[in-house]
Amino acid sequence: MKRTVSLLFIAALAALLLYVVANMPPMGDPANPTATHVIPRYLENAEEETHTENVITGIILNYRGYDTMGEVTVIFCALAAVLAVLGRERRGAIEGFVDRSEVVSSTIVRTMVRFMVPFILLFSLYTIFHGESSPGGGFQGGAIIGGSMIVFTTIFGLAESSRRVPQRIRAALEGAAVMGFFLVGALGLLGGGEFLTYAWPKVAPGLQPSLVVWLTILVEVGIGLGGAMVLTSILFAMIREEEIATAS
């Protein structure tokens, strides 16, 4: 009974969606509402207006920066949710964890990882800092840092990697993305503009292009660091959960 009802519901929904798709504006038509209303301004003026060569960065950090601020909050919120369900380690407790992985990784792997991680980190910094002019940016860079942490932790264990990135640092930087946005927003307010204005029309009218670039980079760095720390903290919380589960 329940199954029939849910199947019927899904079928109805699918029919509805297919019906819409059939009636949607044709794909790729230059006369589409999507192609004629807001998009042209973004494509034509983004570079002058936002002083970023990468139009996508211009849109997500500048025209719709507030949305992105919300999105980074979502990421932070995901971490808070994980910590709410799994709980966070007590202060300083993580050093006491023992590596319980069954297979001890070989020296070759250890050496390779030890050798690779700095380069991965360097690359991620490049991705973050260059986001305003080429593909890349805070999200991608942060994900790369997080990835490197995952690699490091799988090989060297929780205890080792939490010595490298102690709870103190993580707790401080998990919200770096939101803080970055808020800082830029508040500076925009103080500079006489609206919240999240990347320029200070009243304070430094002449400095604008370079100011925008620096503020954009500040936001990117915030997003990168914050994202990386969120990933790391989620990873640590999950491993810890595993540790507790195996220990008990």
């Binding site: 509805l16 969606l17 019906y19 819409v20 009636n23 949607m24 504006p25 589409n32 509402p33 999507t34 192609a35 004629t36 209303h37 807001v38 998009i39 301004r41 973004y42 500048n62 025209y63 719709r64 920066g65 507030y66 949305d67 601020m69 919300g70 999105e71 909050t73 979502v74 932070f76 919120c77 995901a78 808070a80 949710a81 910590l83 709410a84 369900v85 709980g87 966070r88 380690e89 007590r90 202060r91 709870q167 103190r168 707790a171 401080a172 998990e174 919200g175 770096a176 939101v178 803080m179 808020f182 927003g185 925009g188 307010l189 503009g193 609206e194 919240f195 999240l196 204005t197 990347y198």
Partner: protein, 494 residues
């Protein structure tokens, strides 16, 4: 326009900033977290009160983020109704937060307490952003924060039932978010815009009626799940009754209301009167569902044995009230709906916090166990009674005023049947509320169930409870402070 035009954005972002700063404070001084968490919300509340009187009831404050004028940038648009709701959010969250400090020591384990406050602030900030935004994608973003934080807060006690309830909530909530996203996508494809005011114009000119109709249907289903509109309410009773009481208060007193408010915005600001033929059928269906919700919620609430479960079902019933006010499509109905958001928020939050007091002091959850509670916990019991009276809608509480306008709105809209349903709903409410009141005051409890001397909850838990219940009384007696402006604002929306 002075500096106060920045107040809404600060009201939204300061709690979010507070949330991201809390983990570090939690690392340094965990015991300070509950107190410091009050600061950002208190700040928002103060700003909200300063905004009072600055926004005319037939106008709005439009704030362009980053200085980009809409539709290219994001707009925050606070009208009178929005400000009214934002103030309600600030007040109720602040009180629930005060209440939390003692309460969570009972239900939330040590390692999770900082996360609790972080999520609490995120949820509050997101609700404020949700109520204030004038951009439909931004609405979605805040809805996600709201949804994610509420999932986690339901599960925060970490026991099996809580996780299961939260999982049920996620199972219904995540598809509903996707539906809203799809609906936004469809709207965008048909109009090319995301700004609500701009959308209203473009919808009137757009030829893609099928896309727009389906998009509205998806909005209704998506927000309907979030607002627990019958028959999409399945997640609510479990989640609301198992979450820690202050969270139940937020979920029941605010979250479902702001979801209903989002649908209000979409119905009245995005799909304007010119598009009545697009949404007419769906709105009628919503009316039927809401009427069913009033009856179903009321009857189920009567059948419950667990106090919080009963309050949760009562919420389902009252969401029906709000939607019946929306679908009346009259200024009075809309006023009733918005006013009901406030007074239901106050009363429901109060009831859940009272239930929290019983759990905190005695660990009692079942209605049966409340027999004779009056002797030990008179303050909680009286607050409970007062809030129940507002839930039923007996004068002079705010519940009466909103019921008056809801019924009047439906009568004006010539929906006599719905007016009768609302009346029957209040009879059902009387049945389930009076049962509890009767047990508390006029029944003798089991031997030893209650102490003979006063031993109520600590003041930091009683104060919020009493402020909420007196709030229902205040807004009942002094409804003339708000109602005329609301009526004007509602007429403006229509």
């Amino acid at each position: 326009m002075g500096a106060w035009r920045h107040f809404p954005i600060l009201m939204i972002t300061v709690p979010l900033l507070g949330a991201v700063l809390l983990p570090f404070l939690g690392y340094l001084r965990e015991s300070w977290v509950p107190h410091v968490a009050l600061l950002p919300l208190g700040f928002s509340t103060v700003l909200g009160f300063l905004l009072l009187g600055r926004i005319p009831s037939d106008g709005y404050l439009s704030y362009h983020l980053g200085g980009w004028e809409p539709p290219h940038g994001i707009e925050i648009r606070v009208d009178y109704v929005g400000l009214f709701l934002m103030l309600a959010i600030c007040g109720i969250t602040l009180l629930a937060l005060v209440f939390s400090r003692h309460y969570i020591s009972k239900e939330v384990s040590r390692g999770r307490r900082t996360a609790y406050f972080v999520l609490f602030l995120l949820m509050s900030g997101a609700m404020l952003g949700f109520a204030a935004t004038g951009d439909i994608f931004n609405l979605f973003v805040f809805m996600e924060i709201l949804a994610l934080s509420s999932y986690a807060l339901v599960a925060i006690t970490g026991n099996r039932n809580a996780v299961r309830a939260a999982f049920k909530y996620v199972l219904m909530g995540a598809p509903s978010s996707i539906m809203v996203l799809l609906a936004i996508g469809f709207l965008y494809s048909a109009t090319g815009s995301l700004n609500m005011a701009d959308l209203a114009q473009r919808i009137a000119e757009s030829g893609y009626t099928e896309v727009l109709t389906v998009s509205y249907i998806l909005f209704v289903i998506g927000f309907g799940v979030k607002a627990a509109l019958f028959p999409l309410h399945m997640w609510l009773p479990d989640a609301h009754s198992i979450a820690p009481s202050p969270i139940s208060a937020l979920l029941s007193g605010l979250l479902v209301e702001v979801s209903a408010f989002a649908l209000l915005r979409i119905t009245f600001s995005v799909f304007p009167r010119g598009a009545a033929d697009l949404i007419g059928g769906t709105a009628d269906a919503v009316g039927v569902a809401a009427a069913a919700a009033v009856l179903y919620g009321g009857i189920m609430a009567i059948l419950q044995k667990d106090l919080k479960m009963m309050i949760a079902y009562s919420t389902i019933s009252h969401i029906g009230y709000i939607f019946l006010g929306l679908t009346a499509f009259t200024a009075e109905g809309l006023t009733g709906a918005v006013y009901h958001m406030l007074d239901h928020g106050l009363a429901k939050a109060c009831l859940f916090l009272c239930a929290g007091n019983f759990i905190y002091v005695k660990g009692y959850r079942r209605i049966e166990e409340l027999k004779g509670a009056w002797r030990q916990m008179p303050w909680t019991c009286f607050a409970f009674a007062l809030a129940s009276i507002s839930v039923i809608g007996i004068p002079p509480t705010a519940g009466f005023i909103s019921k008056w306008y809801l019924i009047l709105g439906n009568v004006r809209g010539e929906k006599w049947l719905y007016a009768c349903v609302l009346l029957i709903g209040s009879i059902l409410a009387a049945v389930y509320c009076f049962r509890v009141i009767y047990y508390m005051f006029f029944q003798a409890g089991r031997e030893g169930a209650w102490e003979d001397s006063w031993n109520d909850a600590p003041p930091s838990m009683l104060t919020p409870v009493w402020m909420l219940s007196l709030g229902t009384l205040f807004f009942g007696i002094f409804s003339y402070l708000v109602i005329p402006s609301l009526l004007k604002a509602a007429a403006f929306l229509l």
